[in-house]
């Protein structure tokens, strides 16, 4: 940035008009070190828009000088302190050496903020200092912050100290436990297992969770044994941990706990529970899963992915009576039913045909259409008969789907019925489908008899046969 422009902006940042100050603050993001001090002053501006622009610009400029000049703000009021923390965090690694001196500060909170910053930046050139603070700092919150930070830095040399810290006050123990979970080292397993005798329920719970995250055969073994011994809250925690590792035992009570997990808020927990239910073949859970699938608000951004995930899970159960029973279950929401119908189709589940046939009479259009589609995938004779019936359904989309399915199967006996229905078909997109199906079944015969149809149909057929020759070349 040209000096003249820089100087102008530095003047403008003191302008009486707030919007001019804000524009100047924004533009200074392209400045050099000379912009830093004016921007820091602007952090104290009365106007929030100016403050915000100044903060963003300092984050853009980055650099050691910026970090150095922002540090003193950590001692000011809470608003400026929080601003300084946000800026320094953005500075990243280059700020970390400057934080060292704060680790010796007399103020407990300053030491803690410095540790939290190192944790967020996830880099530290002096990890041994953190270990020293873990064992030696007089303030509990600081020791806990040290443990947390060591964990995120994955500093393995600290493991012995972290294990010692498990005997410290509860807050420190909890953080140390978390850190050991990050480090996932077998040497810590015995100490963690010991915590299962801790008087604090919270610590016992956290220890079970930690075992679930340290994926080792010893942890699995211990947790599996613990499942039958534990009760209530702990039992649930133990099963959850095993589910996360993917090693759920098929013991009594386990399926119920997992089905409860389906009500959890976190999607990941739900997914873990679903996969675990498949692994123990708990077919009675299918009802809950399909119900969940049918309840999604499709305007939420992630719901399509989640729906897909549930479908995959239910699919992996394979064809079974519980799934088929859902097709006949009147209490199931129709959207859930549609999911179940889709899945039996994809599974080519012959046994579901009678239920699907009944669903062809459903009041819900989507249920009818999906049933037809699934019947098209299942190549039993009974299914084929239904499809033939459906080509004369009053709903054009149902007709279309049935015709497409027959075409795909290439059913010879469908040829004449299709010819008959086509004669009276009004909708062009359905006509398209009829023609495609007839071409697939017997193109030569169809084209030979093209004279039986009206002009509209003939012109569509003409377009189609041109495209068809393209397809044949491919």
């Amino acid at each position: 940035m040209h000096t003249r422009q820089l100087k102008k902006l530095i003047r403008d940042i003191n302008n009486g008009d707030a919007s001019k100050r804000r524009s100047a603050a924004e533009a200074l993001s392209g400045g050099d070190e000379r912009a830093i001090y004016p921007l820091i002053r602007a952090l104290k501006d009365d106007n929030f828009g100016v403050q915000d622009a100044a903060m963003r610009s300092l984050m853009e400029i980055k650099g050691e000088t910026t970090a150095y000049m922002v540090l003193p703000l950590l001692r000011e009021n809470s608003f400026l302190r929080n601003t300084a923390i946000m800026i320094i965090r953005e500075m990243g690694k280059i700020a970390v050496p400057l934080l060292y001196v704060l680790l010796n500060d007399r103020d407990d909170d300053v030491r803690k903020f410095a540790l939290d910053l190192i944790h967020d930046i996830q880099y530290c050139g002096y990890p041994d200092k953190l270990v020293e603070m873990l064992s030696g700092d007089q303030n509990v919150n600081v020791r806990a912050a040290a443990a947390k930070t060591i964990g995120v830095l994955q500093y393995k040399k600290a493991i012995p100290q972290l294990i010692k810290a498990l005997s410290d006050e509860e807050w420190v123990c909890f953080s140390a436990l978390e850190a050991l979970t990050y480090l996932k080292d077998d040497s810590s397993l015995d100490a963690i297992i010991n915590l299962l005798n801790n008087p604090s329920e919270t610590i016992r719970y956290a220890a079970i969770e930690a075992l679930g995250k340290i994926d080792s055969s010893k942890a699995v073994q211990y947790l599996t044994e613990h499942t039958s011994k534990a009760v209530g809250f702990e039992k649930i925690a133990t099963i959850k941990s095993l589910a996360r590792i993917g090693c759920v035992p098929s013991l009594p009570g386990v399926a119920e706990v997992l089905i409860d997990m389906l009500q959890e808020d976190e999607w990941d927990d739900k997914l873990t529970a679903m996969k675990a239910l498949v692994s123990i073949r708990a077919e009675n859970a299918i009802h809950h899963m399909v119900d969940m699938a049918g309840s999604f608000d499709l305007s939420e951004p992630d719901s399509e992915d989640k729906l897909l995930a549930i479908k995959e899970v239910v699919h992996s159960f394979g064809c079974n009576d519980s799934l088929i029973a859902l097709l006949n279950d009147d209490s199931m929401k129709y959207r859930g039913k549609v999911v179940a119908i889709e899945i039996v189709g994809n599974l080519r589940c012959n046994k579901s045909v009678p239920a699907l046939v009944k669903l062809l009479k459903s009041d819900y259009r989507d249920v009818r259409r999906t049933s037809i589609k699934s019947l098209g995938q299942i190549e039993s004779d009974e299914a084929k008969e239904c499809l033939m019936e459906a080509i004369s359904d009053s709903d054009s989309h149902v007709r279309k789907t049935a015709v497409a399915a027959l075409g795909k199967i290439g059913l010879m006996t469908a040829f004449e019925p299709l010819m008959t229905m086509l004669r009276n078909e009004q909708y062009n997109d359905v006509i398209d489908e009829f023609i495609a199906a007839l071409m697939n079944i017997n193109a030569r015969l169809f084209l030979a008899r093209i004279g039986e149809f009206n002009e509209n149909i003939r012109s569509i057929a003409a377009r189609y046969s041109a495209e068809l020759s393209l397809e044949i070349k491919c």
Binding site: F48, D52, M55, S299
Partner: protein
Amino acid sequence: MLNLTLADATFKDIRDYIYDKSGIYITDSKKYLIENRLSRIIQEKKLQSFEDYLKLIKFSSNGNELTRLFDAVTTNETYFFREPQQLTVFAEGILSKLLEQKKGVKKIKIWSAACSSGEEPYTLSMMLLEKRLLPDKFEIYASDLSEGVLSSAKKAVYNSYSIRNLPESYMKKYFSNNGQSYTLKDSVKHTVNFMKVNLIDNKNMASLRGMDIIFCRNVLIYFDTKAKQKVVSNLYDSLNPGGYLFIGQSESLHNVTRALRPCVINKVITYQKV
């Protein structure tokens, strides 16, 4: 029918191109959605591949192809009187405050940014007409990225899905029913000024300054944090001091800006430029 597959590298190219042009970021999980939607366009245009399609977009001289791409990529589930709690706070809470503040001063300006097919600005218009505050006291502006959607907004013809939340009285007063569709009467249509705006690009937002209320609902979800910051910064600049911004109830500004101060009225959050 051709079987088109979208290669990962092509998907990334398309994603980067869209991000560059509009700030909209398509996550990996939406890849199959893009594959589906663009396949239809590609087949219609008788192209052979996604790569060919991307070339067409980049090198076509008019913006129509790009606009169509944006259309295909954003899901628009909008209807009249969406998120009614917010609308109530607007009508019962904010409106009277602004009328006080701006006594004697020109007109109060409202902007529906990302108006899609028009349901939101027309909803605001009808609410103001009911209070007899239009056309004297208010001006309503509406914008969107996509020309296709803007032209259908101007036509103002809607289906039963869009009107499902509409009170009976509004239906009778402001719409004419022609079988399957509902058309807005001219008295409402003429109260909204539509324009094409890209929220990421503050160049073409120059005509939208001095706004007193901005609605930008359910579109920020398409942006990543950086793009969101840019958009919200642009909206901030468009607001008058004392003006309000409404975002979707399930959306968040909590990693985006501290320039706007949250005001809670009847549990609804609105963000004010103080």
